[in-house]
Amino acid sequence: QDRTITGTVGGSDGASIPGVTVLVKGTKLGTSTDADGKFSLTAPATATALVFSYVGYATQEVAIGNRTSFNVSLVTDTKSLEEVVVVGYGTQSRRDLTGNVATITGKEIATAPVQSFDQALQGRAPGVNITTPNGVLNNPPVIRIRGVNSINLSSTPLIVIDGIPTFTGNTSALGSVPNNPLSNLNPADIESMEVLKDASATAIYGSRAAGGVILVTTKKGKKGQSHVSYDTWAGWSKPVKLYDVMNAQQYVDLKNEAVRNLNANRRAIGAAATNVEGFKLADANGNAADTRWYDYIYRTGFSQSHNLNFSGGTDKTSFYSSVGYTTQKGMIVNNEFKRVSARLNVDHKVFKNFTVGMRVAYSSTMNSSPNTGSVGDNSFGSAGLGRVPILLPPNLAAYNPDGSPNVSGTSIGPGPNLNPANGLPFVIGFINPVVDIKNNKFTSDGAQIEGSVYADWELLKGLNLRTTYGVNNLSFEDKAFYTSLAGSLTPTGEADNYYRTNKRWNWQNTLQYDHTFGENHNVSLLVGNEQQNTDVQRWGASRTGVADDFFTTFQGNYTNIASSGQFQGTNYLVSFFGRVNYNYAHKYLATVNVRRDGYSAFAKKYGNFYGASLGYVVSEEEFWKKSSFGSVFSTLKLTGSYGVVGNNQGINDFVALSTYTSGLYAANPTLYYSNAGNTNLTWETSKKTDVGFAFGFLQDRLRGNFAYYENLVDGLILDVPQAPSKGIPNNSISANVGSMRNTGVEMDVSYNVFQDKAFSWTVSGNLTTLKNRVLTLATEGQRISTGTGGLEFPNYTQVGNSVGEILAVQSLGVNPDNGQRMIRKADGTVVQYNHLGTNPGSLGTPGWTTLDGKPAFAPTPLADGVYYGPVLPTWYGGFDNTFRYKNIDLGLFVQFSGGNYIYNGTKSGLHDQRFWNNEVDILDHWTDNSRTAKWPRVVYGDNVSNGSALVMSSNVEKGDFARLRQVSLGYSFGQTLLSRVNVASARLYVQVQNALLFTKYSGIDPEISTNGTSGVNAGANIGAGVDRNSVGQARTYTVGFNIGF
C-alpha cells in the first residue's frame, strides 16, 4: 500500500535547501524540495529508504521504517573539497593546494573526434591557449601556458604521462605529413590532466618548467568494481569555408584587362606595348574548361573510433586495460590517421607496506597526408594543396579530352592560354594536382612503447620510499614517393625514407613523509632524485631516377641515392629536488619547492630553481564560519607564489660547443666550421609570480578561481646576430641575453544554475588575458625577423612590443584618380605604384611615384613599416553549458579568443596580377568608370599593389573570433531498461565539432598559423599570426555510443 511521505531538508546551519533530489531507494520514484526545502511524495509499501542528494552535499540515505515525516539535515560534501590533484611526484588535496593547477578530466575530452588529447584542450582551462594551426590531421597544436615563454627554445609545456616526461612536437622528416608523439596516447585512457602554471606548482620540474607542465594521469582500476566499457563514434569531416575564386569567364576577362593596362603603361612611357591578350576560354580545337580546383582536393572524410576497456580490483590488485582503434580520414584527399593502441595499468600490494605496479602502453600510428603547404616550411611551394586550388587558372582542365591528365613536362599544360610576353602557349610551371594526388604519397608511421614500473615501500607510517623507472621509446618511419609521370615535379621519380628513434629512460627515487603533529600541524616532505637520458637518431636517404614506374617504394630500383636527414643527438639531465608542504589546520598553508638540475647541452651545466607559496583559507576561520555571510560565501582561499624555473626544452644538444661538420665537395668529403660555441651558455630562467584566490558560494554551487600572474623570462637564449659579412655559421652565436615578460589575469567559474530530478543546467567558463612585452634583446634596437617559408618576413620582434608583431607598410587604399595603390612612407610622403609604368632613373624605383608623379623610392617594411599590435591573443577562453532533461543531455562549448592581429598573406596571393586566379572580390577593382574600388587598377604582372612583394596593412586584419567548438546531444538509456539486460550505463550521442565560427576575419580561419606548426623553433614562438596558403580546420559531425557493463 502506498503512503505519503513529507519532510523538510536543511543544511547543517539549519537553513532550508531548495532543489534537493529525494528518491525512493531502488526506484525511479522521487521529487525535489521546493523553495522552502519541503517535499512530499508517495512511496510504495515496499519502500525501505529515501535517498537525498544535492550538489555540494554528501548524499544521505535515511531508512523509512514507520515514519511518514522527515526532517533531514545534509552536510557539506567534503569530498568535493577533498578533490585530489596530481602534482609533480605526488598528489595533493585541492583544499591544501597553494600552487596554480587547473584540472581537466578525461571525460571532458573523451568524445572529441581528435587524433591527440592536446587538440581537445582548447578553451578548457584558464591560462592555457591552444591553437590549431591548420586542418591537416594530427598536426600538433600550439600550446601556450600563460603566453610565449621563450624565443628560441620551446614554449611548449613539459608533458608528463604518469610521471614520465614524454616527447612532443612534430618530428616528421617530411614537410608534408606531420606527426605528433602525443597521438600515441589513446585519449580514452586518460583519467585527468592537470596544468601546472605558477612557480609553486612547476618548480619541482625545475629546468623544464618555464612553459608550464601538463601532467597526464591514465586510468586505473578501482577496488571491488569490475567494469567493462565500449565507446565508439563515427564522424564525417568537411571544410567549413573555402575561398570564392573567379570562374573561367571572369578569369579570362580580368587577366586580358590587366594585359591591356600593362600595354597602356608601356605606351605611356614610350616603350614597346606588345604584350598579348592571351587568356582564352577555349583552345583552337574548341576545348574549354571551367574548373573548380577545390573539387579535386577536398572531400567528406569518414572517421571511426572504437575503445574497449576492462578494469577491476581486489584488496590486493587493481588493473585497467584497454585496446583502442581509430581510423580517421580528413577533408583533404589522402589525409588519414590511424592508431591501434593497448594499455595495461596494474597496481599490486605485495605486502601490507609494499606495493608495486606498472603502467605500460603500446601504440602504432599511421599518418598520411598530401603536400598541403601547411605543415612544414612549404607555404609557398608550387605543389601545396592549400595554395594550388586558389592559384590555378580555372580555364585549364584537369584532364585532356582523352582522359589523360593535362600536363606539359613537370607543369600543368598550357590549355588555351598564351603567354602575354610572347604570345606562345603558356606553360605556367605549377603542378596539375590530380597527378600529385593520384601518384605521390607521404606517410609517417609511428610506434611507441612507453611506461614505467614502480615499487613503493612504506618504511614507517607516513614515510614512503618510492622508485620508478620509466621508458619512452618512439620510432617514426617517414616515407615520400614522387612519381616520374609527367606533371610531377620530379621527372625521374624519387623516393625518400627516414627512420627516427627517440629513446628515453627516466629513473626517479623519492622519499615522502606525511605526518600530522599535534592536532593541526600537517607536514608533508619530499626529497628526490631524477635522471633522464635521451638519445635521438635519424637516418635516411633520397633515391632518384626510378628504374620503372612499376616501383612506388624506396626499396625499388633507382639510379641515384643521396644521404638525407642524418641526425644523432644525446642529452642527459640529472636532478635533486625537495618539497615541503605545511599547513596549520588546513587554514594556513605553505609550500616550498627546490630543485637543482644539471643538463648536458649547456656549458655551465647546473642551475638552481625554486618556488615558494603561501595560502590562507579564510573560510576555515571560526569567525567566518559563524558569520552571517559565511553560509552563503562558503569558501575563500587566498594564495600567492613566487619562484624561478628554467628552460632547456628544445635546445640543440651540442650548441655550446665550437664544432666542425663534414660535408661534400662533389665526390670529396669536406670539413668545415659549423657552429660558433659559447662557453658561457646556460639555462633560460623564468621568474613566475602568482597571486589569486579561490571562492565558493552557496555551499559551492558557484565556484571559481582568480589569479594574476607575471612571468619574467630572463637570460633568453638568443641567436645573437652577427653581421653577415663576418660569415659566422648561421650568422649568429647563441647567448643568454634577452628578457621578456608575460602578465595577465585568469579566472574560471562554474555554476550549478539549476538542478532537480528532471532538469539540470551547469555553466562553466574561463577567461585569460595576456600582455607580452619583450624587454631586452641581444643588441640595442635589434629587430628579429621571422620568415614565412623563408620568403616573406611579416613578423618582427622588438623591445617594447609583443613578440613577432606584424610590421607592414601603411596602405592608404586606392587612389581614385588613377587606381594606384597608395602607401604612406615613414617621412609622411605618400607614394603610389604603377606597375612597369615609370622610368625613374636615379631618383626612384620603377613604378613608384609621389602623388604628383615624381619618381620615388619604393617603401620598405623596415624603413616605413608600422607595427600592428600583438599576434598572440590578448584574451581567450572557453564557455561551457551543459543541460540535462531527464535522459537527454545537451552540451554547448564555445571557445573564444581575440585582441590579436593576423597577416593575411593568402589574401595578397588571391589578388596577385600574375597569371594567378583571384578571389571574386577582385571584380571590384579600379577602372575609369569605377573609381571608388576596393582593389587597384589591374596591371598584368603586378605583384606589388596586392601585397605579394610588400607586406602591407591592407592585408593585416584583426583575429577576434568565437567558435562553437562542440555541440553535443546525448540520450542515456534508463536504468530500468539497462538493469534488465545487465548493462550499467549506455549513452547515444550526436555531436558537431567546429559547428559555427563568428569572426570578422576575411580568411578561411582566424586560427591558421602558418609558422606555428613546429613545437621547437623560433617560428612557432615569434612567427604567429601569419596566414599563408594553409588549409583551415574541418567541421566534423559525429555519432557516438558508450556502453558500460
Partner: protein, 482 residues
C-alpha cells in the same frame, strides 16, 4: 649521477680542437672552402644566373621572386631575400671559412711535424694557403660585381665592401666599414699574386681535380679578368701572356695544359682543359632547389613525351637587342645549333644539359672561368691598350669564333671601335648563360639594356648596382647603404 653523461662528445661533429690533427683532416678542410664557394646560392649557380638575367639576353617566364624576377626587372630592395641577402651571406660565409682555415694553418703550425705529418708538409701548407688566397680573391671579386659601383666609376673611389681578413669565431669585431672599391681590388690582387706563388703548378694528372681545385694557371686566369674589370689593360696582357701563346695552338706552356678545346660542346659535357675552374656537382651533392643552371634555362614541358628537363624560368630573348637577333650569331654557329633549343616557338638555352629528366639531374658543372675567356680578355686588352686593329687580337678572336662558326672568321675591321664591338658581341655569344654579361657591362660603365617590358638601367641609376642587404645594415653599425 653519471657525470660523464653531462658532457657528451658528439659523434658526428668535430671539436674545433682536433681539425688540424692529421693531414687528412686538413685536406678535408681545403675541400670545405671550395664547397662554400660553390654553393648553389653563390658560384654554384645563382651568381652566374643573376649576372646574366640582369641584362638583356633572357626573358623571365615564371614571375617568381624566388628565382630572380626582381633581379631581372630591377625591383630589388634591401630586404630581397633570395638574391640581395642570400648572395651576400653566401659570399661572406665562404670568405670566413677561408679566413678561419688560414688562421688555423698558422695557429696549428706546430702540429705539422712528423710522424703524423710528412716532413715536407710545409710545401703542402703553402699550396693550401695559395688555394685559400685564390678563393678569397674570387669571392671578393664576385661580390664587388653586384654590391659596389664599378671600378670605372671614379677609379675605384666609390664605396666597396667590408674587408674581412681574419677568421671570425666569436662575437667581437661585428662592425666594420666598407673599404673603397680600389682597396678591395688591391686586396684581391695581393691575394692573387700571393696565390700564384703559393699554388702548385698542377694538381696531378686528373682533369677533374685540375678544374675543381686551383693551380697556378687558375690564379693567373682570374687576374686577367680582375685587371680587365679595372681597365688595367697592360696588366691583363702581362698576365694573359703567361697562359696564351702568340700563335695557335692556344695552350698554356706551363702548369696545367689549359687550352682552347676543339669543340665548344664538350666543354660543357666532358672533362677538358679549357675549363680552368668550375663548380662541380654530384647527385649526392647537388646545387640545391632552384639554384640549378639547368633548372633555370632548360625548357619546361616535354618533347615527344620526354620531359625537357628544366623549369624554363628564363627563355632567351629573341627580340632585337638580344644576342639571338644579332647578325654576328650565325644560324649555323655550333653555339646556336647546340645551345639554343626552340620549344613551342620559344628559344631556350641548352648549355647545361643535365636537367631533371636525366639519370644524373643537375650535375652540370657551373663554369667560373675558362681559357676562351682569357684569350678574349687578352684580345680586348690589346685592342684597348693600342687602340688599333691589333693582329694578335684578331687571331685570338677568330680562334674562339671559328671553332664554332668555321666560316665566320673576321678578316679585318675598319676601326678599333668596330673591332671592340665585335669582340663584345663574341663574348655575349660565347659566354651566354655563364655569368659574364653583367661583369662586362659593369666594367665598361654602360647602361644595362632593357628587355621585354623592362626598361634599361643607366649607370647613374640607383639600381645600377644591388642594394646592400638589410641583414648587414641592421647588424653592422658602420655599414653604409648603396
Amino acid at each position: 649521477c653519471q657525470t660523464d653523461k653531462l658532457s657528451p662528445v658528439p659523434v658526428t661533429l668535430f671539436s674545433d680542437k682536433v681539425v688540424f690533427d692529421t693531414p687528412a683532416r686538413v685536406e678535408l678542410q681545403a675541400n670545405g672552402m671550395y664547397s662554400y664557394v660553390k654553393v648553389g646560392t653563390f658560384l654554384g649557380g645563382r651568381f652566374q644566373i643573376f649576372n646574366d638575367i640582369r641584362a638583356e639576353e633572357f626573358l623571365n617566364r615564371a614571375s617568381n621572386l624566388v628565382t630572380g624576377t626582381a633581379v631581372w626587372n630591377h625591383t630589388l630592395y634591401e630586404g630581397s631575400q633570395n638574391d640581395v641577402i642570400n648572395t651576400w651571406g653566401a659570399g661572406y660565409a665562404a670568405i670566413n671559412q677561408i679566413n678561419v682555415f688560414l688562421t688555423g694553418l698558422d695557429a696549428n703550425a706546430a702540429k705539422f711535424v712528423p710522424p703524423i705529418f710528412p716532413a715536407d708538409y710545409a710545401n703542402k701548407v703553402k699550396n693550401y694557403r695559395g688555394e685559400a688566397q685564390f678563393l678569397r680573391a674570387l669571392c671578393y671579386y664576385s661580390l664587388l660585381q653586384l654590391y659596389a659601383r664599378p671600378y670605372a666609376d671614379g677609379n675605384g673611389g666609390k664605396l666597396g665592401l667590408p674587408l674581412r681578413l681574419r677568421g671570425e669565431v666569436d662575437d667581437t669585431g661585428n662592425d666594420l666599414a666598407r673599404s673603397s672599391v680600389a682597396e678591395v681590388y688591391t686586396q684581391i690582387l695581393t691575394d692573387l699574386d700571393a696565390a700564384e706563388g703559393n699554388l702548385p703548378l698542377t694538381n696531378g694528372a686528373s682533369l677533374f681535380t685540375n678544374t675543381t681545385r686551383a693551380h697556378r694557371n687558375t690564379a693567373i686566369a682570374l687576374k686577367t679578368r680582375v685587371y680587365l674589370s679595372m681597365g688595367r689593360y697592360a696588366d691583363v696582357i702581362r698576365e694573359a701572356n703567361k697562359l696564351v701563346p702568340a700563335t695557335a695552338p692556344f695552350v698554356a706552356s706551363s702548369g696545367v695544359a689549359n687550352g682552347l678545346n676543339s669543340s665548344v660542346v664538350t666543354v660543357f659535357t666532358q672533362e677538358n682543359t679549357e675549363s680552368i675552374l668550375s663548380s662541380p656537382f654530384t647527385t649526392a651533392d647537388g646545387p640545391g632547389t632552384q639554384n640549378q643552371l639547368a633548372y633555370y634555362y632548360l625548357p619546361p614541358g616535354s618533347t615527344n613525351g620526354v620531359p625537357n628537363g628544366g623549369n624554363g624560368e628564363y627563355g632567351l630573348n629573341t627580340a632585337a637587342g638580344g644576342i639571338l637577333a644579332s647578325p654576328a650569331f650565325a644560324a649555323t654557329d655550333a653555339r646556336r645549333t647546340n645551345f639554343v633549343q626552340v620549344v613551342g616557338g620559344e628559344s631556350f638555352l641548352k648549355k647545361y644539359p643535365n636537367g631533371s629528366n636525366t639519370s644524373t639531374p643537375y650535375v652540370d658543372k657551373a663554369p667560373i672561368i675558362r681559357y676562351a675567356e682569357v684569350m678574349l680578355n687578352l684580345a680586348e686588352a690589346r685592342v684597348r691598350s693600342t687602340n688599333s686593329v691589333d693582329p694578335q687580337a684578331l687571331l685570338l678572336l677568330n680562334a674562339v669564333r671559328t671553332r664554332s662558326n668555321p666560316t665566320g672568321a673576321y678578316t679585318t675591321f675598319a676601326s678599333a671601335a668596330d673591332m671592340l664591338t665585335a669582340m663584345l658581341l663574341e663574348r655575349r655569344i660565347e659566354f651566354l648563360g655563364e655569368g659574364l654579361r653583367n661583369i662586362d657591362i659593369m666594367r665598361l660603365l654602360v647602361p644595362i639594356p632593357g628587355k621585354g617590358s623592362v626598361s634599361a638601367v643607366n649607370p647613374t641609376d640607383l639600381l645600377y648596382v644591388w642594394p646592400i642587404p638589410a641583414s648587414e645594415l641592421s647588424t653592422n653599425k658602420l655599414m653604409v647603404r648603396n
